[in-house]
């Protein structure tokens, strides 16, 4: 099936009432949970995910796509309204979005953001359709050596660039990798670190850890009064309409942001977060109104938010084609797929074209849903943020527990949620990054399995594995550049200075 026919086929599947409803529910639930204080995309997706297990694969996956996009949108919304970013990729939205809110243009900022997400979503999808045949060919060539390079290299890169001090990312990541070793090891068929507990042979489920680490710990912060709960200003619907000038100034940043975002999306790493910062940097240097950035300039909202949205779409491509997630939310998406009996990988598009294409098409539909849903409902969302804690906390705990239990019908997951929650509280209290722990947990087991598989395939020759193909060598070279670029920069400047001195 060609890409265009495939997409149209997917669109046809996705506009069936059942799947439309799934996209609607996903987008609505995603926004809802993303907007609840501090829950944010990861915990939100973790909470809602198990509910999707109950449906057939296409419905479940479309709901997840909707949830994914919905939570990201909600994260940026709280950034603008409350100066409270839902997660890393919506931090940039506070730079100009919140000042716009203070200037009385918060409504316009939201509209610019929503429209931008939609437009860049469209652009991103267009690019996906163009590059997909090429990506499929490349993905088929991925074996253990390439996967090992991608996962191990990706982990190294993530440790280097995840923000904060090196230790604040590295330590939780190591804990995550260590946790990933718990369970039944297929290579030796022995149980590792299960201490005779049969239930632990399952390993530590990502979704339960995510619910605890983000969800439960956030609730604990709310209860101890450490979570900030600023009161949003009321605003009128009329303010939602941007002026002609604001719209005009947004168009080029949207375009630039879309391209930047998609590029970042394809690269392993925290694509969405990097792309928003990247796009903001670009706006700072090329925008006509660059001097005004930071004081409530519409370009500062339009560019990064467009980048955020198309990075999301760009990063779904490696997930569907290779099955490798580089962010916690995408990892949850993969675990949802495997629970549905769908193994992401290069064969997905040929073996389950219905699923593959309906997911791609449903991303577009979820974007439309968000557009239709969110602008009129902003008032409702604001009310929701104001829900008293005495209702909110127990409600979220109940949803979270049901969700965690239904992953495996096993009480061990509830224990994991509890432990991860308490652990996450202290982790965050001490400014360590919980996201690194999740990424370590996801990639850790992949790295090990691909490493072992590769070492057996290449008969114990490590260098044969590293140099197995151009893809593998390229990935390792890129990793080396990212890792050592920081060290090389001072060397480079010294060399240049010496040269200059020499010339003069």
């Amino acid at each position: 099936m060609g890409t265009i026919e495939g997409f149209l086929y997917g669109l046809e599947l996705a506009v069936s009432p059942e799947l439309l409803l799934a996209a609607f529910v996903g987008a609505l639930a995603g926004t809802l949970i993303g907007i609840l204080p501090g829950l944010g995309p990861v915990a939100g997706a973790a909470l809602l995910l198990p509910l999707t297990f109950a449906y057939e694969p296409a419905v479940g996956m479309i709901m997840i796509a909707g949830i994914y996009i919905g939570t990201q949108f909600a994260g940026s919304m709280t950034s603008i309204l409350l100066n409270m970013p839902g997660d890393a990729q919506s931090v940039v939205a506070t730079f100009d979005g919140h000042p716009m809110m203070k200037n009385g243009r918060g409504g316009a900022a939201l509209t610019i953001m929503t429209l931008g997400s939609f437009i860049s979503g469209l652009i991103g999808l267009g690019i996906v359709l163009l590059v997909l045949p090429a990506v499929t060919g490349v993905a088929m060539r991925f074996g253990p050596a390439e996967f090992f390079a991608l996962t191990a290299g990706g982990l190294l890169v993530l440790a280097r660039i995840s923000g904060g001090s090196l230790g604040s990312g590295l330590l939780p990541m190591i804990i995550g990798v260590a946790l990933a070793t718990v369970g039944l090891d297929v290579n030796t068929s022995t149980n590792r670190f299960t201490f005779g507990q049969v239930d632990l042979t399952l390993g530590v489920a990502l979704a339960s850890v995510a619910v605890g680490l983000y969800g439960l710990s956030e609730l604990m912060f709310m209860l101890t009064g450490d979570a900030k709960r600023p009161k949003p200003k009321r605003f009128r619907i009329r303010e939602l309409i941007p002026t002609k000038e604001e719209l005009g100034r947004s168009i080029t940043p949207w375009g630039r942001g879309s391209l930047i975002g998609f590029g970042f999306g394809l690269i392993p790493g925290p694509a969405a977060a990097l792309s928003t910062f990247g796009s903001y940097k670009v706006e700072q240097s090329v925008s006509k109104h660059r001097k005004k950035l930071g004081t409530g300039a519409v370009e500062g909202v339009a560019g990064p938010e467009a980048a955020n949205s198309s990075a999301t779409i760009g990063s779904i491509v490696p997930v569907l084609m290779l099955g490798i997630p580089f962010s916690a939310t995408l990892a949850l998406m993969i675990s949802a797929m495997t629970v549905q009996g769908v193994q992401p990988g290069p064969l997905l598009a040929t073996q389950r074209p219905d699923l593959f294409w309906s997911v791609i098409a449903s991303i577009l539909i979820a974007n439309v849903m968000l557009l239709l849903l969110n602008l009129p409902l902003i008032g409702v969302w604001i009310k929701l943020i104001m829900t008293p804690m005495r209702y909110m906390v127990p409600f979220i705990v109940i949803i979270a527990s049901i969700g965690a239990y239904s992953i495996n019908s096993n009480f061990i997951d509830l224990h994991i949620v509890l432990i991860a929650g308490v652990f996450g509280y202290f982790l965050r209290l001490l400014d360590f990054s919980p996201a690194s722990l999740l990424v370590g947990l996801v990639l850790g087991s992949m790295i090990e399995r691909y490493f072992v598989q590769g070492m057996v395939t290449y008969r114990g020759d490590l260098w044969a594995m590293v140099g197995a193909s151009g893809i593998s060598i390229t990935i390792w070279a890129l990793v080396a550049i990212v890792l050592f670029a920081g060290f090389l920069k001072p060397v480079w400047t010294t060399v240049k200075r010496k040269k200059r001195e020499h010339v003069s």
Binding site: Y55, R141, P144, L184, T188, L202, V339, G341, V342, T457
Partner: protein
């Protein structure tokens, strides 16, 4: 004709929803189970059926079909509960620890029921001591597959090549101690060859991909799961295990038995109950299970899935369990002696 892409999904949605409801209200049935009306008639309550795998995949539909037919047979309500993990060990442990009242049954293969306790030494159950075996529902072969452009046209080609260069041929399986791996160990021993075993990270699906891409020479996996790839010309079957003819599905492959190798392992889904059932409950369940798996409806359904309705109940099943246990013990021995 069987096709993995077009399983009627809508017929499963209802059952899945029911499962979700059950999962969400997990506490309720626990309470109800404690105070179920006990008027001496069996069954007077709903029956829980543990499937030690996630929804989807190969095992889950077998369990669901069985439960659906059991509902009619016993005129009772049945619920499938998916308890994945530990190569079936987690779900089977729950089954072994469940009350022996006939309201908890479970699915598993000889890999989970028999091999797990022998392999890990940590399992809290033993088969058949801790169970009441009810029925063996299928006996689908494991296939030995190569890429269509592989130099090995027949099983003999592959064995000949392995004799020339011991250890050179790389064959993939999902795990080192499981039925598919035992198929390879038995072949090695009986053909006096040596191959290298590679366990793939993503299960049989990814193993098939490794073979299609030419990185590995062959894969051993559940034959019914690979039929789609065989039909689309991405994989070619050389041979298959088990005692029954599978040439309807893999016309170009040879049965190991016919080629002179005795390899008994199949993907053998079984239904068991905990040990110690009341005799009348046990006989009601045995009768119902026997009626299901020997029915035409079951045979038709199984063949539609690409699985063989190679069934056994009663004494026949007890004998099967003894035989397969001996086979698995030997497989584990061979596995432990391997260096690669």
């Amino acid at each position: 004709m069987y096709s993995p892409t077009s399983r009627p999904a809508d017929s499963r949605t209802g059952k899945r929803n029911r499962r979700a409801l059950m999962a969400s209200m997990a506490v309720v049935p626990l309470i109800l189970a404690g105070c179920g009306a006990d008027d001496g008639e069996y069954p007077s309550d709903s029956i829980e059926y543990i499937v030690p795998y996630n929804p989807g995949g190969g095992a889950d539909p077998v369990g669901r079909q069985f439960v659906q037919m059991l509902e009619t047979e016993l005129d009772a309500n049945g619920n499938v509960i998916n308890v994945p993990g530990g190569d079936e060990a987690v779900g089977i442990t729950q089954l072994a620890n469940a009350d022996a009242d006939g309201y908890t049954l479970g699915l598993g293969t000889s890999g989970g029921f028999v091999a797990q306790p022998l392999v890990t030494g940590e399992a809290q159950y033993e088969t058949p001591a801790d169970f009441t075996p009810l029925a063996k529902m299928s006996g689908t072969p494991y296939g030995l597959f190569v890429s269509p452009d592989s130099e090995y046209e027949t099983l003999d080609d592959l064995i000949e090549a392995a004799k020339q260069n011991p250890g050179d041929i790389q064959i993939s399986t999902p795990a080192r101690m499981g039925n598919p791996a035992f198929v390879i160990y038995f072949l090695e021993e009986q053909a006096d060859i040596e191959v290298s075993l590679v366990t793939t990270a993503g299960g049989t699906g990814e193993a098939a991909l490794e073979v299609m891409s030419g990185r590995l020479d062959a894969v051993v996996g559940n034959a019914s799961g690979q039929l789609g790839l065989v039909e689309s010309g991405d994989l070619r079957a050389l041979a298959y295990s088990g005692p029954e003819d599978y040439s309807d599905f893999l016309p170009d492959a040879v049965r190991f038995d016919e080629a002179g190798y005795e390899i008994p392992f199949t993907s053998d889904y079984m239904t068991m109950a905990p040990a110690g059932l009341d005799e009348d409950v046990a006989s009601a369940l045995r009768e119902a299970s026997d009626a299901i798996v020997t029915s035409e409806e079951w045979e038709e359904w199984a063949r539609g899935q690409g699985t063989l309705p190679h069934v056994a109940t009663g004494e026949e099943l007890d004998t099967y369990l003894e035989d397969i246990k001996a086979g698995i013990e030997h497989g584990i021995e061979l596995g432990n002696d391997r260096e690669n």
